[in-house]
Symmetry: C2
Subunit: 348 residues, 2 copies
Amino acid sequence: MIPLAQQNPHRRFNPLKREWVLVSPHRTQRPWQGQTETKTTEVALTYDPTCYLCPGNVRAGGVRTDKYASTYVFENDFAALKPDAPQFSSDEGSKGLLLAEGESGVCRVICFSPRHDLTLAKMSVPEIRAVVDVWSEQYAELGARDDINYVQIFENRGAMMGASNPHPHGQLWASRSIPDEVISELAGQREYLEKNHAVLLCEYQKLEESRGERVVSQNESFLAVVPFWAVWPFEVMVLPRRHVATLQAFAEKERSDFAAILHAVTATYDQVFDTPFPYSMGLHPAPCDGEEHPEWQFHAHFYPPLLRSATIRKFMVGYELLGSPQRDITPESAAETLRQASLRASTQ
Amino acid sequence: MIPLAQQNPHRRFNPLKREWVLVSPHRTQRPWQGQTETKTTEVALTYDPTCYLCPGNVRAGGVRTDKYASTYVFENDFAALKPDAPQFSSDEGSKGLLLAEGESGVCRVICFSPRHDLTLAKMSVPEIRAVVDVWSEQYAELGARDDINYVQIFENRGAMMGASNPHPHGQLWASRSIPDEVISELAGQREYLEKNHAVLLCEYQKLEESRGERVVSQNESFLAVVPFWAVWPFEVMVLPRRHVATLQAFAEKERSDFAAILHAVTATYDQVFDTPFPYSMGLHPAPCDGEEHPEWQFHAHFYPPLLRSATIRKFMVGYELLGSPQRDITPESAAETLRQASLRASTQ
Ligand SMILES: O=P(O)(O)O[C@H]1O[C@H](CO)[C@@H](O)[C@H](O)[C@H]1O
Ligand SMILES: O=P(O)(O)O[C@H]1O[C@H](CO)[C@@H](O)[C@H](O)[C@H]1O
């Protein structure tokens, strides 16, 4: 990174979404008297009789969770999307000012393990590999449906990120429409392909590998970096080394290597502030809209909120909501912190 | 609103930003076992000797805050932007993948009142009018500079919204670049003007006034509505009744009426859960970039995080960060709740 940017306020361009982030490296000295969060604590119980995700327990709707031994998928009892939602489109004669459309889809919960006390960071790579396989099956099954054009697979980890249960689990929301973030990433990747006759995130992966300064972790098939345009303090993006648009297209070894890099990133996070690290994580495969997607490269995003300590987070508020996202520590210094944490994680 | 949308999952279009929000009205029944926030409490002290924003006290850098009697403006001691930041532009030969630009600007803090215990909701309309006048002066002064093309005025209210001090104050971040949110709103308003030969937010104001179902409060010069495309549960937009792009262009009466509607909205908020209501609020005048802005209509946004109670907020996490924003209660039902709260506020 050029030295001028390391010391001075600047903005960085996100070519994937074609947006800017304001970086203020000198602002880390700011004292903090604001809100502190409750430190995330480890879960001790391997089975919690009051947890509706533990095997054999009864859920909110009266349904019983199976006595599962590895992973477990079920329809979300309080789904934001429903398969039979009526299709309509109406702007009430307002020239587009009051435009609403019916949206249908499917929401599922994916339990990662029957053990209540585990997290991706504490699971073994083969155990995570089972989760990767389930994600892949789910994407294949739902993506094949005519009424589904995107399958958003994600995990909200930790109460700070809105997770209502510490039991290791993620979700998928599959919808008829392609969500806006994916629309932005499509546009950014298409523009790059047209201009450069190359795949944006494949070029970017090579560039980051050769620079090294933002790399957090890597294996034969994947690279984990703090993106040059990261918004969250310790944001990470996982990129394949090969051009591959979806999970199903992963080779056998890539599935295991993907499990391994997810383990490496989450175990690294837990070392940063010596606390279970909250985050939202999600997969971005190509849309399953029946189109070819030569521009698209599979990737995963990690968006963790912590900034200074286990209890001091970054607030995305006034300026961020009304102007542009803003960050204090540079992506390069965040990557350095994560590399140190990664060393500690691997010697544990 | 058409009945189908009141009961079923649908998405709504935001013509200002040209983005969609997913609405899941049936999801309000969902039980909540997740994170609860500390209830925001009222401040009792009119003067706090440890508060660096109270008149006469010493701030972080050793500077003393004036013994002010009404409003007070000073340069942020930990500014995210600096006037003398070097200008540069570099992509390190990466075809735009590592693009950074120097960004200069000015960050100021604006104290609304010398009284530590007040909030906009508890201040009188003439006191808020003094704040409106300061905002207008600041925009005029900074907007006239060649090195400043946008002045983002905002308030983070409450610890939940990252405010580090309860003393009534807001901020302004004035920058050389126009921030991304404003760029989106520019594009949306331009497209509408070209297509319809009318100003988007002026047409929208008339439409909302005639429908009534999303109106929260109004006076002779302004309307406060929960926008049709609101993302936050109790989001509010304040719109002038007349086409006016900036604060300086307000007539005398409009300035006072703007103060009055800000008071009405904030006092209404405090009634919803009988608690000081956290929010981020900001003004969106036209850019001060030396261009004509016939497409632009002045407006203010309120983004409050609370959803179900004084301690249960909406989390913008997994799906929202990776897919699209999602809301549970409809804007129409939020507006109804706010109208009831507004009645209680006005009879206090
Ligand atoms: O008011 P402060 O302490 O400058 O900071 C607050 O507002 C800023 C602008 O929205 C945010 O970037 C910070 O995360 C938030 O804590
Ligand atoms: O896991 P839950 O309880 O369905 O809900 C959580 O994730 C959703 C998807 O990101 C968000 O809309 C909710 O605000 C959050 O609390």
